[in-house]
């Protein structure tokens, strides 16, 4: 657009000299134009558009899909099932051989098969602990943030109490109890990790709900006659979900790591259960002569934990415009 066009032509013979620099303006029609053909964009759609372009997101999503497939159908990935195929002591600490690409443990078990079949327990603990933590912590945090007042005060003190006990420490104290010494399964771990993991989600949810609860659209919903509780469920919570989802994704990685740590300490899954933590623990003895049985489950663990954390990182960038890097 040239500057002359934006001025009306003077209808006089003498030209009025310009003393003011010509303005360069975007015509109003251009700014007011609304593209009505496109569907209204939501926060999630925008986030998805942003995510699709992030290599970090694509990489972590592919890895997570792979890990979940391995957890659901380990038989597809390993012809040997460590539960049936008895370990041969003659193979103790043996190197990789045909059909056994990662070599053998000290007990003569196939490392590859154990890594593949160990995925299930880790992923189960991670996924279900995260679900439990989001439900419990989300509900408590949302109630505290939405109602405020004494509800908030009481719930805040309770979560402070649990917050003062670090998760691993609390889990260690509970797991050593006589009632958990004899029978421990992945579900025991889920309950105990969730018991000490919920306050973090509660804090995040509370903050997010407080931010949303005074928004205009909540006021308009309330004035249209939506009940207070219904407004919380239908309008506040869906709009406060973004930071909770980010924290949940990152926590999923943390819980998988916590399961391995507890199993490694000997108070997680029972020694008979197949788990990366147990395998790392039992490979520890022969670390100096044959580090591979320790390294392979470690790599699997790191890769899994890392992919959930990368996913959380990418989600944060996509969902929180303030924290966006670019």
């Amino acid at each position: 657009m040239t500057p002359e066009n934006s001025y009306p032509k003077m209808d006089s013979t003498e030209a009025i000299p310009h003393f003011v620099a010509p303005l360069e303006e975007t015509p109003l029609q251009a700014t007011d134009k609304v593209n009505e053909d496109e569907a209204p964009s939501s926060m999630w759609k925008e986030a998805w558009r942003n995510l699709r372009r992030q290599p970090l997101f694509i990489l972590s999503a592919l890895l997570i899909i792979l890990v979940i497939l391995v957890a659901l159908f380990p038989g597809l990935f390993s012809p040997l099932n460590p539960a049936n195929d008895v370990c041969q002591l003659q193979n103790s600490n043996g190197p990789a051989a045909a059909g056994h690409p990662l070599g053998f443990t000290q007990q003569g078990c196939d490392v590859y098969a154990r890594v593949i079949f160990g995925t299930q327990n880790s992923v189960t603990v991670g996924v279900f602990t995260t679900l439990a933590v989001v439900l419990l912590g989300g509900a408590i945090g949302a109630l505290a943030g939405y109602y405020g007042g004494w509800v908030d005060a009481v719930l805040a003190r309770i979560s402070d109490i649990f917050f003062a006990l670090p998760m691993i420490l609390g889990a260690i104290v509970v797991m050593q109890l006589p009632m958990f010494r004899t029978s421990r399964t992945a579900w025991t771990l889920v309950i105990i990790l969730a018991l000490f993991g919920w306050p973090q989600v509660a804090r995040i949810t509370r903050g997010a709900v407080i931010e949303v609860r005074n928004a205009d659209f909540i006021k308009s919903a309330r004035s249209l006659g939506v009940s207070r509780f219904r407004a919380l469920l239908r309008h506040v919570i869906p709009n406060a979900m973004a930071p909770v989802i980010v924290v949940a994704t990152i926590s999923l990685g943390t819980f998988i790591a916590a399961e391995s740590t507890l199993s490694f300490l000997g108070i997680g899954l029972p020694p008979s259960a197949m788990s990366w933590g147990n395998d790392i623990q039992s490979a520890q003895a022969s670390l100096r002569s044959n580090p591979w049985p320790l390294l392979w489950p470690s790599f699997a663990l790191i890769l899994t934990v890392l992919s959930f954390m990368m996913l959380g990182d990418a989600l944060r960038d996509a969902l929180d415009p303030k924290a966006r890097k670019r």
Binding site: R157, I158, D160, I161, F162, A164, L165, P166, I168, L169, I172, V173, V174, Q176, L177, P178, M179, R181, G253, A257, S260, T261, F264, L265, G266, I267, I280, Q284, L287, R288, P291, L294, S298, L301, I302, V305, L306, M309, M310, D313, A323, K325, R326
Partner: protein
């Protein structure tokens, strides 16, 4: 200010009571007999069991047990562990070791975390920033026991740069490698936190003013950007001291550090309820006090925060 300190202090009391009650309840009141568990596979000797029950007040109603335990905490009489040594003496022996380890880890993570975070923040979007971000993500993703083993194996066993395990008395040079492992994950968090905070503050009006006044770049960075960026970092570091001491259990196990975590782990495995409760109480206390100190540090770092209002 004084009234604020008092108020914060009063808020600590329910948290402390609640946390100790929770731990005490978990250890002594859930189904399962801690005294019977103590005998393991051996048959329970009724006389010894009765003696132990009296000694730990397990014959009393639960609430009386808890109150007696609280009284013990305040009179520093924590009872004896199962080998007959006073728990207070055991704690006096192991606590300084872990405190030393945790403080070394804290210094390491604070110094390098803030340094790298500041440099990355100032070079936002450049190659250095990207490298540091990816590296810190990888560090966060590695569980600490795997990290500990890898460092022990590579640095201690293969390269022989440091002793793979800690000797008696836990001298400071021996603790460098465990402290590095202990602080590494938090280092990554400190780095990311500092970086985000620096990026936020870099474009603040007061930074532009300071530059426009003609202050040198180094003064603007250290006094105007860094000091304002440190507030969230200090919160994290304070809370982290508590988690470092509690989280040292894994690191101490790997490097054989004779500290709180190691003792706690042995107590857990042998089912020594009273020792477990005492150690956890101590760790909760450290955590809670560290958080209080952090709150008070705010005033020094950010005079805009006033406590009396």
């Amino acid at each position: 200010m004084a009234s604020y300190i008092l108020k914060r202090f009063l808020q600590l009391i329910p948290v402390f009571l609640g946390a100790t009650f929770l731990v005490y309840y978990l250890v002594f009141s859930l189904p399962g007999d801690p005294i019977a568990a103590l005998f393991g596979d051996k048959p329970v000797n009724p006389a010894v069991a009765a003696q132990l029950r009296t000694q730990y007040h397990l014959d009393q109603p639960f609430i009386v047990q808890y109150l007696l335990y609280l009284k013990g905490i305040f009179t520093l009489d924590l009872g004896q562990d199962f080998s007959g040594r006073p728990i207070a003496a055991v704690l006096g022996e192991v606590f300084p070791v872990t405190a030393r380890l945790a403080i070394m880890a804290l210094i390491f993570e604070a110094f390098f975390g803030i340094l790298f975070g500041l440099l990355a923040g100032l070079r936002k979007g450049k190659f250095f920033d990207g490298t540091v971000l990816v590296a810190s993500l990888i560090v966060i993703g590695i569980p600490i026991f795997v990290l500990g083993f890898l460092m022990q194996f590579v640095i201690g066993v293969q390269l022989k740069w440091a002793k793979p395990t800690v000797g008696a008395g836990a001298p400071i040079p021996d603790l460098i490698l465990p402290a590095l492992v202990l602080g590494l994950v938090s280092f990554a968090y400190v780095l990311r936190l500092t970086r985000t905070s620096v990026i936020e503050n870099m474009n603040a009006d007061y930074v532009r003013t300071a530059t426009a006044k003609g202050l040198s770049r180094s003064r603007v960075v250290t006094v105007h950007i860094l000091r304002n960026s440190l507030i969230p970092v200090v919160t994290f570091l304070g809370a982290d001291l508590g988690s470092l001491m509690g989280g040292a259990i894994v690191t101490e196990g790997i490097f054989n550090v004779p500290g709180v975590g190691n003792r706690l782990y042995r107590a857990v495995l042998s089912g020594e309820g009273p020792t477990v409760v005492s150690i956890v109480t101590l760790l909760v206390l450290v955590y809670v006090i560290a958080n209080l100190v952090v709150d008070l540090l705010y005033a020094w770092l950010d005079p805009r925060i006033r406590y009396d209002s």
